[in-house]
Symmetry: D2
Subunit: 481 residues, 4 copies
């Protein structure tokens, strides 16, 4: 038996390779397939199946290409929106993999076609070794139920509760739970930081098993998660098993500062992945500060696949990793990388912008001088923020900038939880003409550690509801196109 979990940083995504007697199964592969191909070759495994637990919405899957490259068959749950796959498994359908037996379980709620797939060891077909749960069941959490028709969150939550209780829980405490996402994912609210978990552990700790049905539904209805605009694109793309990376043969041009300036300034967007302090100290005018681990997710908020992107990377960064982070969410038009990094720009004599940084104590002492802007999620904000702070989620900041009542010519202190989203927000403000931007070093994490005053409760700003309605309008048709 062979088993390996493959984590994708920045997306908190987990995919799996399972092998038995020379045959292999890959579950929920990401778009860049090198890691799977290497494992298969090193282990001498012949890939039989590529399994999709559900149509992922936060990244482009590698289903179709992996199947194409290896001759494997694609597998998903039998459902109208599963997209084209070779094998559609109905409820309780079985697959054989070497000496292992796989069992399909319908676990809708996060998405309608979500499948969990239980794995049984050969000699005990009645005793589950583990279960691939996709985004249905996660460590200490369940997948969000507001994605597919937000207005049906209630029904989705009920569906999820019932499926997990009737299909998954009976597999027994001993079964390993193997979900598609770990802590930090936007596919769920509060995934626990727990390496490896079992149904028994979840039975005692997961809200879906600890709470009653109504309680659980209410709990899900209270969740208020940002909905990145790129989700609907991903779903569309994944309907066809993802987009191949193979055609991306061109290497990234290394551009001199002047070349970058000339090509990027007209139409392109410059993403600067350095730490917020470095960005504050100096950056290319108009560039966005988007840290490496946030590159996948937040490029999904800030850019579109059609947009030419240019990268400013810190020292020692593997350009290929940055390119892959973007490609994983479909941002394929990376047109160039600043050769020599910001060092080269700094020495080129080309224009440089900078903005201020601020320690919590400095902000506290000069609170009068600053308009304060908090760019965390609604939930984070409501749990405690700087008194009088305004709020807009960083992903929606540019859109709501006009409604916040901020003066461009007066100092603005930006805060997030620890700095990176604040760096992004600061760069958005500078792009929009704000003069006195300052990033709060250490954000609310440091602020709270210093016991500085905190206010609890909702922000006085346009309700999340409007955003969701809008998103829903865009999404609604996608599933049945």
């Amino acid at each position: 038996m062979f088993f390996q979990a493959i984590k994708t940083p920045g997306l908190a995504h987990v995919s799996y390779v399972l092998g038995s007697d020379g045959e292999a199964l890959v579950v929920d592969p990401r778009r860049d397939l090198g890691v799977y191909l290497d494992i298969l070759q090193a282990q001498g495994l012949h890939l039989r199946y590529v399994l999709q637990t559900h149509r992922q919405e936060d990244f482009i899957v590698g289903m179709a290409e992996l199947a194409h490259l290896t001759g494997a068959r694609t597998v998903a749950f039998k459902h109208p929106i599963s997209g084209y796959v070779d094998v559609q498994l109905g409820e309780r359908a079985r697959l054989q993999l070497g000496r292992l037996s796989l069992l399909a379980l319908h676990t809708p709620g996060h998405t309608p076609e979500s499948m969990s797939c239980a794995v049984f060891l050969d000699t005990h077909p009645t005793l589950a070794w583990g279960v691939f749960t996709g985004d249905a069941l996660l460590a200490g959490e369940t997948g969000r139920t507001d994605l597919f028709h937000p207005e049906r969150t209630y029904e989705n939550s009920a569906l999820l509760y019932d499926a997990l209780h009737s299909e998954v829980l009976p597999l027994g405490d001993q079964a390993l739970v193997l979900p598609a996402h770990g802590p930090g994912s936007v596919c769920a609210s509060q995934i626990a930081d727990r390496e490896l978990t079992t149904l028994g552990l979840e039975r005692h700790r997961n809200p879906v098993f600890v709470l009653g049905r109504d309680e659980f539904i209410s709990h899900k209805l209270r969740e208020r998660l940002p909905r990145p605009p790129y989700f609907s694109r991903m779903e569309g793309v994944n309907l066809h098993g993802g987009i191949s990376l193979a055609r991306k043969q061109r290497t990234l041009p290394m551009l001199s500062p002047r070349e970058l300036q000339q090509t990027a300034e007209v139409l392109g967007l410059i993403l600067d992945t350095r730490e917020p302090e470095a960005f504050a100290g100096g950056h290319i005018p108009g560039s966005l500060n988007l840290w490496m681990d946030g590159l996948a997710l937040f490029s999904g908020w800030m850019a579109t696949p059609e947009m030419p992107l240019y990268l400013v990377l810190p020292e020692n960064t593997d350009v290929r990793q940055a390119e892959l982070s973007l490609a994983r969410v479909g941002m394929d038009r990376v047109e160039g990388v600043l050769a020599g990094g910001f060092r080269a720009w700094r020495a080129s004599g080309l224009p440089i912008e900078h903005h201020a940084t601020l320690t919590p104590n400095e902000l506290h002492e000069q609170a009068d001088r600053f308009q304060t802007l908090d760019v965390r999620t609604v939930s984070e904000f409501e749990e405690g923020h700087i008194p009088n702070a305004r709020h807009a989620y960083v992903g929606e900041l540019e859109e709501h900038l006009g409604e916040l009542g901020l003066r461009q010519d007066a100092p603005v202190a930006v805060t997030c939880s620890a700095g990176p989203r604040g760096g992004l927000a600061a760069s958005i403000l500078q792009r929009n003409g704000f003069q006195g931007v300052a990033n709060l070093l250490g954000g609310m994490t440091a602020w709270k550690k210093l016991d500085l005053p905190v206010e609890v409760g909702p922000a006085p700003r346009p309700s999340e509801a409007q955003v969701q309605e809008k998103a829903q309008g865009e999404e609604g048709q996608l599933y049945y196109e």
Copy 2:
């Protein structure tokens, strides 16, 4: 939470790094510590404890050195034979690691001081996440109970049964079982080939939980496992927390064929790690054929720490890996490596020996011509062997050669299960003057696949018992020194 299992090939050993809130624990580290240090550094973890589940007998541990290098404290069960450690945990003693809580459980039977260590997640101190079981409980198996005072195998088995039932089983089906060895280890008989397991899975499948107490004890009494002579050395060494590798600063000299011949021939032992076919096709006279994965274990049978060793390695072999495999069982006197491999020897004009290979059909057709020698374990032999085959376990072959009644001047066909041990046995026979040695290609695995005739039952040779008594004589005092 951070968790990683580290496997040591050749020894089927598993060690672990567990981390929480910046603090780390390493369980049962091997002698070469690079892998742990790299993980700790990459994860930014501060090592607090190095835990020994029991005094390992099949490899040298890295306890003392790892503690020395990092400032961590060594931990073991409170028992007279635990050796010097910083912290001796009594039954049900607790340790805190970041937000995790660790609980010591006494699980003797494999060795008297064996400890299992349960891990509890912070918020549920009553709900075990997993349990480090050392060699007490393994996937589908329990550790052998004949090592410590072989004549007390009955009592040891009873102890083990009782401890696992009273201490470990109550942790619950949901708990991950994290043992110190995987399939292929000589520390147990039939470890299941199962990546990751839980107490629930073991409860349904492990003999110790499936069988009744008496049944289990009888089962253990029937086990007949070879007892490598180096085990007692390891136990002695591990009493002091292992031997540092740090002093081994010298790099391995790359020797020309002539240099190797001159230095190795007088006193040294040449280990040739190529595949048995390559060895058969040509090798240095007097060399032993010991495949890479068998290097650790079988050097423990064939050599002693005082013996100067010389290596003939296949192409593309990392010399350092070979050296480490030997160092892990205390064979530190590797004095040189043949530069250019056997290619260089072949071209040097120096003496070469070769021996024949034989397919199963060829042996079957010419059965009359050959004396057949089976060098697998007693159990493997008794489950089915070539009619009229003689038997001696490869590890004890040289010792028992005189008693086997083989003629040196007539052809001998050697077989094991698939080839490697046969290669070793063939090289032992050649060293002892046998003229017509032939290695059966594919061994009994191929033989059986071809449906050639098989005989079941005991071999007509000096009983294992004698060997065990002898070993016991050597071992018996060690534990109390």
Copy 3:
């Protein structure tokens, strides 16, 4: 300034990356381009030119694809057979690269369009730093002059002599000589084993500068080099700048022994890259023994691009490297790799063949029993062979097998210089029904070291001339198609 030489093992090919002020030139790239792209990215260099010194005949170039991937322009000498390139440089034409100046020099003789390209440092345009010489001038050697119209070897040699004296020598003793091949290449006879060389060193040591014009021409006329049949294919392919590797997206299937047997046996050719001793000890019936370093060159003799190939690889071999070695000479139809290597085959119960090995002393003592076959080149054979040995160059063995007068049912001892070509020849003989094949361990190298009797002079076999005429017939038209 940036400079790096990239060696391709197995082909003894050398390509170069030269950089200055952010701009780069790649000289004679091979087909697999990863190494160049990685260097360009790591160094932040923008590729301006891909330069071809001449149409290479021993491997597929990566010119066209590298230019395509990077936007660089392809450059070659202005000549009808240069193929399509973006820039054709006439005699003494100059290119600028950052602060470096490049000068085109026509150096025909190896091929008609061969160019050397001198590199001048910015401030001293009259002082050459070095010269890329392709196959015109090599360390201690010149390129063979019999490839392009073998019957014009005299004229080609004269052309080469004159060009090197008039164009290259005047660059001065201080200039580095940067050739396209190193020792072991089939593009020249006796390339010196000298890392880095200069024109001054060559002036004192290279036959082309040490000998007089007539002497040099006679020297070249005496060269008798095998002419691999794949050379003409390479030339045709390279006319168009090579074939992209990009479309080769499929990964190599790992096949079980039975799968390999079923698919390979019908139409395919199995290449076994293990050492000759391992092959002798056991191999798949019908497979060819083709060692890793010989994979590129000898697959060019043994296979065609249309032939489905299957690989048996030694432990620890990077499958991708083997695949690349074949791809570099256009063997793109690798259809599978034996999963688990020969170990898996051995244990499968499927048919196995083996053949004998023989030490020089054994052969000498039993000379009467063996027909001896020497498979080295004509030149190697004539310099000294075993008395009464027959001769056929390994590359042409199968073709000439009928003419050698060997009996299939009597033992044949095969020898080469040290073993690998002997292993290939032994496998060819076995494929052709020979029963008693034995490979001489250490070949003539060991034979001579043991002072065993040697005969000098030509072999009593069909003259090389016939082969060359034939080859010429096939080749002759290619250049002008």
Copy 4:
């Protein structure tokens, strides 16, 4: 023949491995020996000699340990200050290495015992293939002649001129020149950025061959190079063949922000290797900003081997590389690394300092507001600086701070050539209580590209001479101790 150059970043040091017929020579090894041992093992080479061209002053050599680990013999020129070596070669002494012949040439001037070592190919003992020149002859430059008894710079320069003309030049234009340092080294003034060079190239371009004797001596007398205080330590240490790294077994503790604060604040020095913009945006109070490539050299100015050092490293930095950079100049007391990098500190709520950054245009427009401080070398400063800038070389800044007439309570703009040394200077000023420090982004490089006003000529500050006299006092006795 095997040849490989090994570059050490940060020190611009080059060492070499030369091999022939299985034997190897290493020239001027650095302290961390892994790279040599790996090459020797991969190439199957037996190290015979470790050669020291001269007693290096800018790093700790690995001579003694490499010899110890491999059994090789240490070799240097026969001279009282060569230190203990196994073989002292007199003028024109020869060594054999495989088929190569080595010839010792005395080339004093940089140091009294400097040796060049010519390499001859076997068959032409009169024709030099190349020459290891240490710091005597470099690409386009010669080693500085002011190190050994600065007051004898005239005599040293004359010695160097004569030796290079009489000993090295006659080797011929064809010989490769293989020096111990490349561009960026502090061992010489203006080393050319030229990969690979030959005596012929140097004959036409190197001042020592282009200028007349008197002209050359005047040229050397005009050189004004900073003399790092750690040079004399290195010389003392290298007298004994360097200090082993083997004893450095402890791994670097990863410290939490609070642990770092507690341990570092009392006695230690915190080195922050992030880019200057990142440091400006936020840093630990009292830390020094010392970029990775400057870590070796400038830790030699800022720290002593006795000082406990703590590191703040950028993302993706290999801690081991930072540790090695420091170890190469003897800074062995690295006591900890900030776990999680500055991100962790930022979120900890612990005190943070920041300082301003400034673009050239901003400084130009607000010139009145700023005191400007230029921290480049005297030569760089005199070639062109910002009008009214004060000057102190960054290495000597703290020492001369009192003499510069800078006001602590008024803004100071710091500039170097492109930023890093400015970052270091800014951190020194902050440590010394300056309030309004700002680092000029892009330094004089950007300033000049923008055509902002520049002043040429000497700085009005304490002469370099004083410093040199002082240094000399410290150094003078070292050589004869």
